[in-house]
Amino acid sequence: MSILSDLLFETRIAASSLADYVTGAGLRLGVTGLSRAGKTVFITALVQNLLRASTAAMDGERVLPVFRVHAEGRLMRAKLQPQPDDHVPRFAYEDHLAALTGDERHWPESTRRISELRLTLEFERRKGLRQGPSELTIDIVDYPGEWLLDLPLLTKGYAQWSRETLEASAAAARAPFAADWRGATLAVAADAPESEAEAKRLADLFTTYLRSARAETYALSTLPPGRFLMPGELEGSPALTFAPLHVEEGAAFAPGSLAAMMERRYEAYKAHVVKPFFRDHFARLDRQIVLVDALSALNSGPAAVRDLETALSEILVAFRAGRSGFLSTIFRPKIDRILFAATKADHLHHTSHDRLENILRLLTARAIARAEDVGAHVDVVAIAAVRATREAKVKQGRMLGEKSELDAIVGVPLPGERIDGETFDGKGEVAIFPGELPADPKAVFRGDGLGVPEGAADYRFVRFRPPVPRLAKDGEPLPLPSIRLDRALEFLLGDRLQ
């Protein structure tokens, strides 16, 4: 039965990619990232930069200098187009841009549902047989990062998942806020008769535990199932009313028992939620950018960093990387370029970017090795899709002795952010020295700290408000300032725009 369903699953993927090939769909760019990694901001900035690049160039602005098709003057224009999938909402690009550049200048709300956008680039080919005017269509998908956590579940049974979840919750870092749910679960016998009320109670406790672990102070990442955090339209349905139990692995559950009911619902969750999501959006990608918010995890402490590493390597197993050939392009698209990007690089001085990249390289080392083994191109880069700060040097008198110069960043911190004993109101500009990342990237994995308070950490990255937009001559905002967005674009799209 399982083989048959796997076969069916694969067949549907192959069929949909064949359909894509025949209808001439564009390049599918997967923007992957856990929640709060900055997917929505990245997509908004990418689209806005591409849409406005040629206008800005005519105004004499130098934007995206590393993105060759634009730098060489071959990019004529970019335009938004109706997307191919009619059942998926459109990515609300205009709303997100308005949020970023409007009077209030705030970051877009966190994503609650899946959405899609199609962008067409008109450019001139420089070489090859098809010289001259050409087009490249790019499909970009945005979705709640929480849902990504479900992908590893595809290969796990209920019992295995239960065991792993219980083990994880026993770790010192999670124990304080997991205690309620853990106590309740361990008290319940797996072979108790099934009861909707009991299932609901356990599911609620479990959800509370997941939510508190994700809270900003802790910034944990490995928290499947994702729909418990961001239920979408499934809230309250049986597929979302289950929880792990203390069960024997490999044993068959008696029909009518609580464990059997939970297992059935777990499998239903996989079949109705995870698989369609994977099939429709992840199995068909050509290029992939993995956005990682390493700074939040660093803020929280070593335990959060290790947790992020586990989450990333589990998720990235689900992707199909590899060198793409003609047949694989038609039937089984493979991701031949993967870019790992540490987002929010504007929160630290550019002299620290190398260290941030090294940390990211270490975080994703397993995924990188696997992708390179099968022949995909991999790169690691620190980016800021929207750059909210500028850089400055802070010079002090005798107070600090020898080292009286600090490399700082200047921006407007979000209201409520705290550093150095000060709480900000979100109005005035502040020069911030966020501390130094360790030269040895392994140092950030050592220790057990989680939710480390502000006063005890060696570094603290505060969040800033979006920058004040500069307007072009036509009154629309110029391309938002960014850090290395052009390098990311060149890596992801450059070879198709030669």
Binding site: R62, V63, P65, H350, R387, R390, E391, A392, K393, V394, K395, Q396, G397, R398, M399, L400, K403, L406, A408, V410, I419, D420, E422, F424, G428, E429, V430, A431, I432, F433, P434, G435, E436, P438, A443, R446, G447, A457, D458, Y459, R460, V462, I483, R484
Partner: protein, 365 residues
Amino acid sequence: MSGDERQRPRAFRLDDDRIVLADGETPAHDDLRQDRLKKGGVIVETTPDAFAPQDEPAEPRDAEEATEIAQARGIRARALLSWGGLLWSALGGLVSMALGLWATRIVEDLFARSATLGWIGVALAAAVVISLLALGLREMRAIFRQRHIATLHAALARARDADDRDAARAGANELLSLYASRPDTARARALVKDLTREIVDGRDLIDIAERNLMAPLDADANREIASAAKRVSMVTAISPRALVDVLFVGAQAIRLLRRIAEIYGGRPGFLGFVRLAHSVGAHLAITGGMAIGDSLVQQVVGHGVAARLSAKLGEGVLNGMLTTRIGLSAMAVCRPMPFAALKQPGVKDVAPFLFGDSKERRDIS
């Protein structure tokens, strides 16, 4: 993790009284700064944006790139399909047909007079055809050899950049076969050959090959350039007519190009020489701008000093410098490997006597 050595995170509100703002262009007044600093104040100085797009140089980044572009325009050009090429091929075809017609007619006439004369004519015509074929063949071989050297140059440059051991070994072996017929390179060849079998990094292997194989050839080339420059400046200084100068400088330049090509292993015939001259011209044009800080100033200064002594002497120095530049460009273009371990010589290294070096100047004047 000790927080002792590392700075703690800090924040400085810019609207604070104790903070002095300064940007790079208009620094706050120094007294004010000192004053505030003494009171425990802080200066926040805006630094230049590290991510601001920088103007890319329109010219090639370095000498190596210039050399490769120059090689691509001349030596490595495959210009068989251009209109110019077609024109010359067609013209050549017509001329050779006319010549063939003419030869046939002469032989026929000769046979009409006597069979012996006719046969002599046939033999001579055959000799002409055979020697033409041989010359053509040599010409082709020379062109291919030159192209091979230029390709090797690019391959070695790439291998060195990438520190690619396999590519470096392949390149070194080709270098060895290029100089296999030169007895004076025997020891260097033996050394490099041994190294290609040992475990040496790609970049090191290339550097060792350059230091051992190229250094004597570079010295030869330098000597050729120096003597050509000397001859040119001397003849220009004493020649009675401008026309003589021009002819002499041209002849010396041609001779110099051929000599340098020969030193580095090429044997340009006529067509090969045309291609080489193209490359050298391109190299001069590209590096002309790059060398503006270097030799143009030198030329003006050198000219000034010499011109004070005599206008004719000044012209001599200028022509000598021009010859040197041509020679250096030819050197860069003909060399089978890029300048990396050895420094690329400049005008001043090769022909110091043009710059008023008192000891050398006596040789000229």
